[in-house]
């Protein structure tokens, strides 16, 4: 395998007194799309927030392109070229769509042009002056993804981008992720919907109780279906 872009090793994280992550270990190579699968409460979102530095209380090692980030504040981590799209989408109600879209500062050269983002998500162009939270759920998701494509970040952390969306929107998001991969983005995806994950990902990790418990390539998904059903309880 190529050298890892992101290398997570023995990651522990806490929310207050509760110990959520117990030594998470995985890696992502440049250009890969990797998913974290697992049930609710397995620690997938906490893993993402730990990588971004949003969870303050964390230990272990998170190396991005060789730089250790475990001791860095969130804004310095972002400046290395990582961007996060939260599960709740995080669209700001006091900002209009354009302000939401333009909010994240550029962290590196080479982000997508605004016209390319409108090409991916034509709906956004029509709604630029609407209040951010007046958009439909699907449009909010497009806005949440669109705004981190401008910044030049090369590793995107997408937390359940398809949650609660209509099938046609899910397809559009899937097409977007494949397009982004082709454009050279590296993507870590948290998903509960492994059927969707299978259409976009190269590799899957399975999380349980704050550990990575399994890993397989997307092409081996069929062979691992029984195991996966057991992990996810579906």
């Amino acid at each position: 395998m190529a050298e890892a872009m992101l290398e997570v090793d023995d990651l522990h994280a806490w929310y207050g007194e509760s110990h959520i992550l117990h030594g998470v270990k995985f890696n992502i190579a440049k250009g890969e799309v990797v998913t974290l699968l697992g049930r609710n409460g397995a620690g997938k979102t906490t893993t993402m927030k730990s990588i971004m530095g949003i969870v303050g209380n964390r230990k272990g090692s998170i190396a991005f392109e060789g730089t250790e980030t475990i001791g860095l504040p969130s804004h310095k981590i972002a400046r290395l070229g990582l961007a996060f799209c939260p599960e709740e989408r995080g669209i700001f109600a006091s900002l209009d769509v354009k302000e939401n879209l333009m909010l994240p500062p550029q962290v590196a050269p080479g982000g997508l042009a605004i016209d390319t983002i409108f090409e991916l998500f034509p709906n956004l162009r029509e709604r630029l002056s609407s209040q951010g939270t007046k958009l439909s759920g699907g449009e909010q998701q497009m806005l949440a993804i669109g705004r981190i494509l401008r910044t030049g970040a090369k590793l995107l952390l997408l937390d359940e981008p398809t949650e609660g969306l209509a099938p046609v929107i899910v397809q559009q998001i899937g097409a977007t992720i494949r397009r982004l991969k082709k454009d050279g983005f590296t993507i870590l995806l948290v998903e509960q919907n492994f059927r969707f994950a299978a259409t976009v990902a190269d590799r899957h990790y399975v999380m349980e109780h704050g550990h990575i418990v399994d890993e397989f390539a997307n092409r081996d998904l069929d062979a691992n279906m029984d195991k996966l059903h057991e992990y996810l309880g579906v």
Binding site: R79, G90, S94, L95, E99
Partner: protein, 295 residues
């Protein structure tokens, strides 16, 4: 000119102007409180003391260093704002994630200490501060005689308030501020140095209080208790306008100043309580305040 509602127009407009002046101070102080509360989640009870410090810095600059009003307008906000940043760095930042009550107690305690120190040093009687030479005298507007300094205060205050509103609502910097008020962790994860922004915002809010203090120095006297007197009314203004609303605090500040002025004309006995009566009525009808969003 004929009387208006049985009141001589000179008296009516005079009180209206006085109301507008008070309103200008209410608006600037409640604006600072609203910005600080929005981003820091702290009810800044030191605000009155910081307003008082602004007036005292102006007085000290003049009497100790011979630097006049125009220097004070620039220097006092910087000096007092720096004092605010020191408080933020060393104390306030440890309280953001706790209940409002902790920030309130800390800032109230600091206010008492600061006021005590100034009273110990300067006594409780007011110290005079002269209107700068350029703004002495008055202008006959036809319907009333307006002291130039008062007109200046109203104009400057309008410019400062709406300038601040413009920056917050219409600029890129303001979009960071609004977004960080909603979800600071996410804004920081985009690469914005939110802790620094919070620190500078507190410095700005405090500086605005000091600036107001300099404007007020020639109108009221410079006294250690001037902040404690006005801040109670300002908190009522904030509650009426809706905690955290920028435009709300500006409009409510000016509006209530005028209401107070008119009350002095028509029913002087109620002039010191009318704002609190309005507060009670507003809280009964709209608990989140006139411009507040229920959270």
């Amino acid at each position: 000119m004929p009387d208006i509602f049985g009141i001589p127009p000179q008296a009516l407009f005079g009180q209206l102007l006085l109301g507008l002046i008070n309103g200008a101070f209410y608006a600037q102080l409640s604006l600072g409180l609203a910005i600080i509360f929005g981003l820091l989640n702290i009810i800044n009870f030191t605000h009155g003391a910081q307003y008082m410090m602004g007036a005292f810095v102006a007085w000290m600059l003049l009497n100790w260093l011979g630097l006049g009003y125009w220097w004070a307008l620039v220097a006092a906000p910087v000096v007092v704002g720096a004092f605010g940043i020191l408080i933020e760095r060393t104390m306030l930042r440890h309280l953001y994630k706790l209940d409002h009550l902790y920030g309130l107690l800390l800032t109230f305690g600091i206010a008492l200490i600061v006021q005590g120190l100034f009273r110990d040093q300067f006594g409780s009687t007011g110290l005079p501060y002269r209107i700068p030479a350029e703004l002495r005298g008055g202008t006959d507007l036809g319907f009333m005689f307006m002291p130039n300094y008062r007109g200046w205060v109203v104009v400057v205050s309008l410019v400062v308030c709406f300038g601040t509103w413009f920056v917050i609502e219409k600029t890129k910097l303001g979009s960071y501020l609004r977004a960080a008020t909603e979800n600071p962790a996410l804004v920081q994860s985009f690469g914005v140095n939110v802790p620094r922004m919070v620190m500078l915002t507190y410095g700005f809010g405090v500086g605005l209080a000091a600036f107001t203090g300099v404007l007020a120095a020639p109108i009221y006297q410079v006294s250690p208790l001037m902040g404690a007197d006005i801040i109670i009314v300002v908190f009522a203004v904030v509650v009426i306008g809706g905690m955290g609303s920028i435009l709300g605090s500006i409009l409510t500040g000016f509006g209530l100043g005028i209401v107070e002025g008119l009350t002095k004309v028509f029913y002087p006995e109620a002039s010191s309580t009318v704002i609190f009566v309005v507060m009670v009525i507003v809280l009964l009808i709209k608990p989140a305040g006139l411009f507040g969003r229920a959270r």
